[in-house]
């Protein structure tokens, strides 16, 4: 079978979606098919560009190219999943979130700041309602994404979990004296919330942040907050780290802190569980809540500095408890039987 994986993104920015597309392609090929990724550049600003890109996707014909028939298309991201194909399956990573649940989010909302934001939002929603059902099947990344799709678009779908890239290579190491927070640095991931939490911790908690800021201003804001709160000796910015280094940071951490806003899925949670580490997340963090069992595989805090500080203090002072939770997390992951074979079977059946 010849399979095209359709996604969209920002050139030169690489994140979870790009890793997932690569992993999916590899898994499809490993199953004996041919697969390629078609990644369309996407620009969301100004909003008037968005309908243009939606139309561009609709006008793409990928049923065959140069007499080569494309047997299956897998759409991952907006607006790439709008590309028509008679055998299209959507595996929805997320819809265009600022047209939905992040519309009026104080930090992440973007369309809301433009005069034509509301009508572009409605155009996006209308296109999703119209074109998503064209797919022969709709899967999503998580229950959280399925819930949103049902709530906002009235479309049913099935969650289809996938493992993090290089899952077998994650390992357990001795618990060090830091929490690990790997993620892109932006307001939705809420590094700032953890920094504020550190300022009210009773224990001398330390955090290592890994990942690149979406822009320089966001990194500068975080750095400034650390300086102003006099936390320089308790915060480390590792920047972009290699996969190997990342796995080591997981392995040698006391636990993982990951409090994003309504995360679609959250590989960080799964990677922590594979590394036998407890996860501190928030009650509004979305995807991680599908895996973190409060007080068993991690702690679920309120999205306040005080509540996150309490959780970090709790594990910092209770290292044995942290280790027990980490082990429980790994067992829970294994029980879920999350693997690529299952994903490929579903998407290509």
């Amino acid at each position: 079978m010849k399979v095209l994986i359709l996604t969209s993104g920002v050139p030169f920015i690489r994140g979870g979606a790009e890793i997932l597309a690569d992993s999916l392609r590899d898994a499809v090929c490993a199953a004996g098919h041919q697969a390629e990724i078609v990644a369309l550049p996407f620009q969301s600003c100004p909003p008037s560009r968005i309908p243009e890109q939606m139309l561009a996707c609709r006008l793409l014909d990928v049923t065959e190219t140069c007499s080569v028939r494309i047997d299956r298309v897998i759409g991952l991201k907006f607006p790439a999943y709008l590309v028509p194909h008679p055998h299209k399956v959507v595996w929805l990573l997320h819809q265009h979130r600022t047209a939905y649940e992040l519309w009026d989010h104080p930090a992440a909302g973007d369309l809301i700041h433009y005069p034509d934001g509301p009508v572009v939002r409605e155009a996006i929603r209308q296109a999703d309602r119209t074109f998503l059902p064209e797919a022969t099947a709709i899967y999503t990344l998580s229950k959280n994404v399925s819930g949103r799709l049902r709530r906002y678009s009235g479309i049913d779908s099935k969650p289809l979990y996938n493992p993090p890239a290089h899952a077998p290579l994650f390992h357990k190491g001795p618990a060090g004296d830091y929490f690990f927070f790997p993620s892109r640095i932006n307001p939705v991931k809420r590094q700032w919330l953890v920094i504020q939490a550190l300022a009210v911790c009773r224990e001398p908690v330390r955090v290592r942040f890994a990942g690149e800021a979406d822009n320089e201003a966001q990194q500068a804001e975080c750095t400034k907050a650390v300086r102003e709160l006099r936390l320089s000796d308790r915060v480390e910015w590792l920047g972009v780290v290699s996969e190997e280094r990342k796995r080591d940071e997981y392995a040698n951490s006391l636990g993982v802190v990951f409090p994003p806003v309504d995360e679609d899925y959250g590989y960080v949670t799964l990677e922590a569980m594979l590394s036998s580490k407890p996860v501190i997340t928030c009650a509004d963090s979305g995807g991680p809540l599908e895996f973190v069992v409060d007080n068993q595989t991690g702690l679920i805090a309120d999205a306040t500095p005080e509540s996150i500080a309490d959780a970090m203090d709790c594990l910092w002072a209770g290292r044995r408890r942290a280790a027990t939770m980490g082990e429980a997390g790994r067992e829970h992951y294994l029980d879920l039987k999350i693997d690529w074979e299952n994903v490929v079977d579903k998407l290509l059946c």
Partner: protein, 450 residues
């Protein structure tokens, strides 16, 4: 309950929309929905702030984030460029419901583009957009004095320009936009202009005053914003031309478009002792004038297509009225008003004045029937219909970017593709654009009264 951004003139603005329409609608609307009153006026009367929260905006830099917190914006546009200019500037960027208080809006756009914004090229461009080269040439002639404002308003009303980014358009006239040749690309509803009549007790008081002065001189009243199309010249000429003129006193109440001209005409026609110019009247003096008047003269020609809040005010006071048989006025009940033919203006006014002198009682009865007709203008029903229409029109939001996209694609293709080669691509693009708004256009409400 909707959260509504409301853009209209508000008291103390010298506008019937502010003084009458808004003040009758807003208390009802604010009781049923969450309303924010946006204004760029220098001041807003304290009684307005008691109805709903007043928020200020700069038309050059509107607070989009705050505006986007509401479900829908409702803009009120009329021909006064100074009063409506700011809200139009917001409306063309931030789609909402446009309530048209005038249907012919050339005067408005001429004032905004040529005087306020000083953008003559933009003025000519909008004429070109809707009326092609002919519109552009007419605009050039208008700028150099070669074509009059009234002709421009009738031939190039520019109503579609006002509705260009609208989710829906509301009119108060049964004269349809289609009839005017100005059907916009959005749903249209014609609602009866709202009016809350005063209670029976004051009304009976006004009637008693009017009945107690059954002998000449009879008080005629002209009222409202008195632009050129209010035909004051004809009224003065008609009055001056009848021997019975001393049996009337004409009270002109409202802001005049050219006061010195009217004063000169009064002087020329020797009407000085018979005519009083009162200027814009505060609410208390309106009652004094209208409750003691015997006959109102409410002419329009050419009509800008508007419904007249003044006319409903006359009905409220039980005043018989002379109106022009044109536009919305032509649809008024025959037994509540007397009609003046545009082409026989002076002659008809004089005939009606003589008829009044012959049988004032018949005119009094006509005014009382006018008062009864206000039952069709209940503000509560109007608010419900307006909000229902606005809620339905929100479904059409995806069409706005779709239309922009269609214009953009069409323009692009025309630049680089031969029409013969572009046909297939245009068809595919238009099909997909149509699908993006998912056939919503076909559910458009037929134009007509709601």
């Amino acid at each position: 309950m909707l959260k509504i951004n409301w853009f209209s003139p508000l008291p103390p603005a010298h506008s019937g929309i502010a003084q009458n329409y808004a003040m009758q609608i807003l208390p009802v609307l604010a009781r049923r929905h969450q309303v924010i009153l946006w204004t760029d006026q220098d001041s807003v009367a304290p009684e307005v702030e008691r109805i709903a929260r007043v928020a200020r905006y700069d038309p050059a830099n509107p607070p989009w984030r705050a505006l986007n917190d509401a479900d829908v914006a409702i803009y009120h546009l009329g021909n006064h460029g100074g009063i409506h200019g700011g809200m139009w500037q917001v409306s063309r960027q931030h789609p909402g419901i446009i309530v048209l208080h005038d249907l012919c809006l050339h005067d408005f756009f001429a004032m905004v583009f040529l005087r306020t914004l000083e953008k003559p090229d933009a003025y000519l461009a909008v004429l070109q957009r809707w009326y092609g080269a002919e519109g552009r040439r007419a605009g050039e002639a208008f700028r150099t004095g070669g074509m009059g404002a009234e002709t421009m308003a009738q031939r190039f009303p520019l109503t579609r320009e006002a509705a260009r980014a609208a989710l829906g358009v509301v009119t108060h006239s049964h004269r349809t936009l289609t009839e005017l040749g100005e059907t916009p690309a959005c749903p249209v509803a014609a609602l009866d202009h709202p009016f809350a009549p005063a209670g029976d007790l004051p009304y009976q008081g006004w009637l008693a005053v009017r009945r107690s002065t059954p002998s000449p001189p009879y008080r005629l009243v002209v009222f409202g914003y008195l632009s050129r199309n209010r035909r004051l010249d004809s009224v003065l000429e008609a009055l001056a031309g009848i021997p019975e003129r001393d049996q009337f006193r004409l009270n002109i109440c409202g802001q005049l478009w050219d006061e010195s001209h009217i004063r000169a005409e009064i002087e020329r026609l020797g009407l000085g002792p018979l005519v009083n110019l009162h200027g814009f009247l505060p609410e208390g003096q309106v009652e004094e004038q209208l409750s003691t008047a015997h006959l109102a003269i409410n002419l329009r020609f050419p009509s800008m297509g508007e419904a007249s809040g003044s006319q409903l005010q006359f009905y409220n006071y039980g005043l018989p009225t002379l109106v022009t048989r044109t536009g919305w006025y032509a649809s008024l009940p025959e037994d509540t008003t007397v009609f003046v033919r545009p082409e026989h203006e002076v002659e008809d006014i004089q005939a009606h004045l003589r008829a009044f002198l012959a049988d004032p009682g018949a005119f009094l009865a006509m005014g009382e029937r006018g008062r009864q007709s206000l039952r069709n203008h209940d503000p509560g029903k109007y608010v419900d219909a307006l909000v229902e229409f606005a809620s339905a029109a929100l479904n059409f939001a995806p069409r706005i970017p779709a239309l922009d996209l269609a214009r953009s694609i069409g323009g692009d293709l025309a630049e680089w593709l031969h029409p013969a080669a572009g046909g297939y691509l245009l068809e595919r693009a238009s099909q997909e654009i149509f699908k993006m708004c998912a056939g919503k256009i076909s559910r458009s409400r037929p134009e007509g009264p709601v």
